[in-house]
């Protein structure tokens, strides 16, 4: 993976690297190092906009400098030094102007972010955790947290983020600007939360990454495909980064495990024509075994620490599915145990709905329908397409075709994803067919 580093480690390969190779190295450094460089620079500028500008400039400068001098051994450190120099220059020039700006509150170094990289004698502390926690601060709206994380941690442009969330570019730009303004005006500190606040604050970060993943997992407005690979890749990269920065947090390992195991099934979730393939129909031999192995190891590790949280439990559920030789050979009773624990840790109606499906597998479709009926009365899932879809499937299994057709129709009316709609339309036709 470390293509930049390995290329620069080869003697002689450096100086005659072509223009394209340099551009590729800079692009690679953008993908891998953006958060590191920006986070370190923001601590100098104490202003996110100024930091972004300096980092952009550093990447532009890298194109020329690396063509002349070769790709540095540690591109992240090179870019950080360049961006920080630029920041200090600007600071000197604009001292009077900046005196009037509200600056980022840079808290003291907390024990959470002690990942350090050395380049020569210069030691640069890793500020990426500060950046992540600032972007996901609970005083910011969830959609702003997501947008800021993509922009500042992943280095996406506003246009790219707007496209990912199907809003206009001006709308997204306004959202990002407003969030940045609140960070400085309300003095949201640029720091890693203290131990007492950490569980809640970390949960917000994990929620943002998970939301990013689920948006990519099943594109809510997907007119073409089911999956948005770009968002999925970003979510995986963020979860990996967080795992690297907070290796001792079981929920971080849980989230990465959950995403890896779920994504391991990506290739089989649709057939060659883009049609939806249910878990029971997927060819398990095509699942990404390496990703499942990595995910399952993370799950084991997270569970070993006791009192697993909602991400570790979801990952354990995904692992159980992934390790089952077939749908019918799945350990449904054990899944029900995990769902009961998940529901206690995270009393969400969506969890209760998924649990109802497992109840149906253990105790029969009627028992599952009873659970779903309770959820319908509860009302919080009104408008959630997977409720009528799950209900329809249980009714189908009981051969109650008219009712099943109605529920499939209700799910169809609620779904805006093309692959899902095509699947549901097929089921509606199947239920309507004569010869029951």
């Amino acid at each position: 993976m470390r293509t930049v580093a390995s290329a620069s480690d080869m003697p002689g390969a450096r100086r005659d690297t072509g223009r394209n190779a340099i551009a590729a190295a800079v692009a690679e450094a953008h993908r891998r190092e953006w958060a590191f460089v920006l986070a370190a620079t923001a601590r100098v500028t104490r202003d996110l906009d100024a930091a972004e500008e300096c980092v952009q400039d550093a990447y532009v400068a890298a194109l020329d400098a690396w063509a002349r001098q070769g790709v540095p051994r540690n591109p992240g450190a090179w870019l950080t030094t360049a961006a920080r120099h630029r920041a200090l220059d600007t600071l000197r020039r604009d001292r009077t102007l900046r005196a009037k700006l509200p600056l980022l509150i840079v808290g003291e170094q907390s024990s959470g972010d002690r990942d350090e990289r050395a380049e020569g004698s210069e030691v640069i502390a890793d500020d990426r955790l500060r950046l992540i926690f600032t972007c996901c601060h609970p005083a910011l709206a969830r959609e702003a947290q997501v947008a800021l994380t993509l922009r500042l941690v992943c280095g996406l442009t506003t246009a790219e983020i707007a496209k990912a969330f199907v809003v206009s570019e001006p709308t997204m730009a306004a959202r990002v600007t407003r969030a940045k303004k609140k960070i400085s005006a309300a003095r949201i500190a640029y720091r890693v939360p203290e131990a007492a606040e950490l569980p809640d604050r970390l949960d917000a970060v994990l929620t943002v990454i998970h939301l990013l993943y689920t948006t990519g997992h099943t594109d809510p407005l997907g007119s073409v495909g089911l999956v948005r690979p770009d968002l999925v890749e970003r979510a995986i990269a963020l979860a990996r980064l967080l795992r690297e920065l907070m290796p001792d947090e079981p929920e971080v390992g849980g989230l990465l495990g959950l995403i890896l195991i779920t994504d391991a099934r990506r290739a089989t979730r649709t057939d060659p024509n883009g049609g939806l393939q249910l878990l029971e129909d997927q060819d398990r031999s095509l699942w990404d075994a390496a990703a499942i192995a990595e995910g399952c190891a993370l799950v084991t590790n997270a569970l070993r620490r006791g009192r697993p949280g909602r991400f570790a439990l979801q990952a354990a559920i995904a692992a159980l599915h992934a390790e089952a030789p077939g749908y019918d050979a799945t350990d449904w009773p054990q899944l029900l145990v995990l769902y009961d624990r998940l529901l206690r840790a995270w009393p969400s109606p969506v969890v209760a709905l998924n649990r109802a499906v497992v109840v149906a597998m253990v105790r029969g479709p009627d028992a599952g329908l009873d659970e779903i009926a309770r959820l319908e009365q509860d009302g919080r899932l009104a408008g959630y397409r997977y409720l009528p879809a799950a209900k329809a499937d249980l009714l189908r299994r009981l051969n109650r075709r008219d009712e099943a057709r109605q529920s499939y129709q209700a799910a169809f009316d609620l779904s805006e994803n093309a692959a899902e709609r095509a699947f549901l339309a097929g089921r509606i036709a199947e239920m309507a067919r004569v010869g029951r």
Partner: protein, 115 residues
């Protein structure tokens, strides 16, 4: 240190319904709160309780109207001006602020000194 306003929004009926006892309890809670702010490294710079919205008069341009700008279930009933290190610190303090019939809103004070 930065300055924040803690705005207390509550259903006015709460104190009316609870009578003298509710009021007494609230007063004691606010006295305790004043002590807690100092213990947490913050500072109260000012603050007051407001008479109910029934006593409010709104003025827009030249038009004087009886009542508050907006009739809402929870009305601004009092405020504190505090000093805190950052938003997290202000939130930590605001969480301690008594508001049994509603909640509080934290707003940074705008720095207008820079011109």
């Amino acid at each position: 240190m930065a300055q924040y306003a803690i705005l207390i929004y509550e259903a006015e009926g709460g104190y009316a319904g609870g009578g003298q006892e509710a009021w007494q309890q609230a007063m004691e809670a606010h006295t305790r709160f004043a002590g807690q702010v100092g213990e947490r490294g913050g500072k109260i710079l000012g603050g007051d309780a407001l008479e109910p919205t029934a006593t409010a008069t709104s003025i827009r341009g030249d038009i004087v109207t009886d009542g508050p700008f907006a009739e809402t279930k929870e009305a601004l009933g009092g405020f504190y001006l505090i000093e805190a290190r950052d938003l997290d610190h202000a939130i930590e303090i605001a969480k301690l602020c008594p508001a049994p019939y509603g909640g509080v809103e934290v707003r940074p004070i705008m720095d207008t000194s820079g011109g």
